[in-house]
Amino acid sequence: MTHGFPRPKQPWQLSRRRFVQGLAAGGVLAATPSWLQAAAKGATALDSAPVLSGREIDLVIAETPVNFTGVTRMATTINGSIPAPTLRLREGDDVTIRVTNRLPVATSIHWHGILLPYQMDGVPGISYPGISPGETFVYRFTLRQSGTYWYHSHSGFQEMTGMYGALIIEPRAGERHRADQDYVVQLSDWTDEDPMRAFSKLKVQSDVYNFNQPTFFDFTADVSKLGLQAALEKRQMWNQMRMNPTDLADLSAATLTFLMNGTTPAGNWSGLFQRGDRVRLRFINAASNSFYDVRIPGLKLTVIQADGQDVEPVTVDEFRFGPGETYDVMVEPQDDAYTIFAQSMERSGYARGTLAVQQGLIAPVPEPDPPEWLTMKDMMGAMGGGAMGHDMMKMDSMGQTKMDHSQMSGGMAMDHSMHGMQQGSENPLAKPSSTIRHARTEYGASVDQRVDTPSTNLDDPGIGLRNLSQRGLRPQGHRVLTLADLKSIDGVLDDRRPPARELELHLTGNMERYSWSFDGLEFGKSTPVSLRHNERVRIILQNDTMMTHPMHLHGMWSELETDQGELRVRRHTIPVQPAQRISYLTTPHDLGRWAWHCHLLFHMDAGMFREVVVS
């Protein structure tokens, strides 16, 4: 392990390359005490987290020095490793997990996506009081599901400083897909800054980490390329509304080092295979604030599982996922080496690793794509698609419908009556309502924009991933996974009841003040969403912001449906794109209080967080 310079440095003092690429041998400095690894099996790949399995697990949370960039920092670790140990458990087992807190402050562990009694869910202040310093909390629950999940701290910013690990539950009936190699590929991000300091900087200047802002010379370049009129038009709405078209992420490589299995890009995590192997890659986005766009140049990715639930296999070339989401992917490598390339959504950097037939082989590493400006569609939804003439997105069918409404009425009052009449035929809740109902608290200082013509299609890969082949960034026929490609194999139709009622909530924010909320109410001003035990209920989420929010509902599944009310896929974390309106059904089987929040850690902490009461 490399011991770097003990003296803290500002990011700009560091060599740019080392900061972005990280140290080749970066990571946890202290050797993990052997007693902690007593139950650990040998890791399947170099640099991977240790594996713990069985019905009884012991986890110890402590501060551990790490060095990812050349400076030594204190991380919060579980059993001394980053990522935390991979837990390999078995469906149907009753597990006992003892978590001991050796930090000077309280801590917690949340089992992300796991159905369990609410007291075991690990959210301080909602499930339980948390785990005090010196205390051991015993989690006991029965594993009622299988698949790829993860676990992390739900206290402050501890997750961001190292507390995350993979949780694999083997199905009782055996795996649906045979694999010769099985790797966890856990993506995360690391900052040398105190996360609270980074957050408070955003509070002062919300674009502090954005070094891809529109400049005067971008403008003059556009003038010579598009003409003055077009160059002005391209900027007009953004500038008028005080919105930044390059606001793709709050943090960037200006403070983050992107990690794959706790390894820097320079460190190059590697997973080995033999030619002809079927390799299962369990991708987990354990980042605090980074969406990743993942591809393995030269390999098709067959997605077989999303958020731990088997889906009808779909073969793609690339997928995007946000913090909290997981995708299991099968690949069949034929060459000697491939790069696993995961560029961050704002394109400031990437996490990277290698699949190879032997240690030490590498494949070419692509450059990150040039960042793409948000479009009118990302600001206004369906109406921004074509009517404004500002981008090339083709109008989808529902977008067209929405358009018609707004052209017809131009106001919401008309919309109400129209929808009332149209949907009056059979079950009024057969389809999600398309009547936009802003909360009255969306008209205050907490909300910087509202969307009146949201898009409802699920087949938009999202900003930066649209028209990649046409833009010359990928080969012809390059396919990017969208939510529309995902269909659960089992489970999603277990409850065939139509929803008995419909809730609508809007995702809101104010970028300038750096505040995030549901319906314009940050957590402290909110009241819980009350659900009845075992009711079938529809939740509509409309994103009135220009960022994508991975929305994670604890304690129950989020069963995504189309805008026609067709059930598609069972998730625990659903990314909602800018100006998008999506809906999902849920049946709360477990009583108690549960958290519901954006899994971008800073958005959650800023207040995009609700409590759900099931009673």
């Binding site: 400049t215 002005l232 008028q240 802003h438 909360a439 009255r440 200082a445 109410l521 009583l591």
Partner: protein, 281 residues
């Protein structure tokens, strides 16, 4: 640099800005859609409609005792911005212009301090202590007091009411009205714009003007538009928080203020180079 050049350059920036606003207003007509601001219609959705009367601390399965989970929306933050800490060549003086705040997203205690130091003496200073409350998504209203200190002249105290925030097209605005002793009134307005030449090289036009309700003989300020300052500063952000700059500032005085200066044998207008530091933490 010639005075006229600065004048024209700054005027150009202002005109381009104004034209942009005009174009915008013309093009903003997307039917009745209003994406920002406004007031809630009577039938707007109740954000507590799904709560069944439960709160974060009351109702089934609530944790006992006072609410434990508090997120950043209930935390106080603070910041200090040294917008201008500069040496002015012509007057051989040092100017400071610092703002600090402490508070939450919507309610903040604000200090604004500006002053002029020459020959080691604080020649004049103006310090405001304000309570800021969010008016809308982009603007805060501010109430408080302002204290003006003069090395030569008479100190003044004012009650202040103002508005500070970000206007469409990214103009930083700060407009405050003041009421003082003996029926004195004043208005000051400040506008700044940041033009990113590159990600780190930033050109900042800045305009500031002061109006007074009646003559202040002691401090040689005339009623009406008293003075106007237009500046253009070019800074390099070594980090977002630390940027040295150079610039040029043109100032002019009007009406009785100009007369007082003429009588005292001082210039009524001038152009000078400045060099300084912008920082925040």
């Amino acid at each position: 640099m010639r005075l006229n050049t600065v004048k024209y350059l700054t005027t150009l920036v202002v005109i381009v800005g104004a034209l942009q606003v005009n174009t915008a207003l013309a093009q903003m007509d997307h039917g009745d859609m209003q994406m920002q601001g406004g007031s809630a219609p009577a039938d707007a959705r109740d954000p507590h409609a799904y709560s069944d009367g439960y709160t974060l601390t009351e109702g089934p399965y609530a944790q006992p005792g006072p609410r434990q989970l508090k997120l950043a929306d209930e935390h106080a933050f603070w910041s200090v911005l040294g917008d201008r800490l500069e040496y002015q060549e012509d007057s051989d003086s040092t100017v400071y212009d610092i703002q600090a705040w402490y508070g939450t997203t919507y309610n903040r205690f604000v200090i604004k301090a500006e002053g002029d130091i020459a020959d080691g003496t604080l020649e004049e200073s103006s310090t405001e202590l304000l309570w800021g409350h969010a008016l809308n998504a982009y603007f805060d209203t501010q109430f408080g007091v302002r204290l003006d200190l003069y090395d030569e002249g008479k100190d003044r105290q004012w009650l202040a009411i103002g508005m500070q925030g970000l206007a469409p097209y990214w103009f930083e605005l700060d407009v405050t009205a003041y009421v003082g002793d003996d029926g004195r009134t004043a208005l000051s307005a400040e506008a700044e714009y940041e033009l990113l030449l590159t990600q780190r090289l930033i050109l900042q036009p800045r305009a500031e003007l002061n109006l007074y309700g009646k003559d202040d003989l002691d401090n040689r300020l005339g009623s009406g538009l008293s003075d106007l300052a237009l500046g253009l500063r070019l800074r390099y952000e070594f980090s977002r928080q630390f940027s040295p700059y150079i610039g040029v500032e043109w100032t002019d005085t009007y009406g009785d203020t100009a007369d007082y200066r003429r009588a005292a044998g001082q210039d009524t207008s001038g152009t000078q180079f400045v060099a300084g530091l912008r920082f925040w933490f």
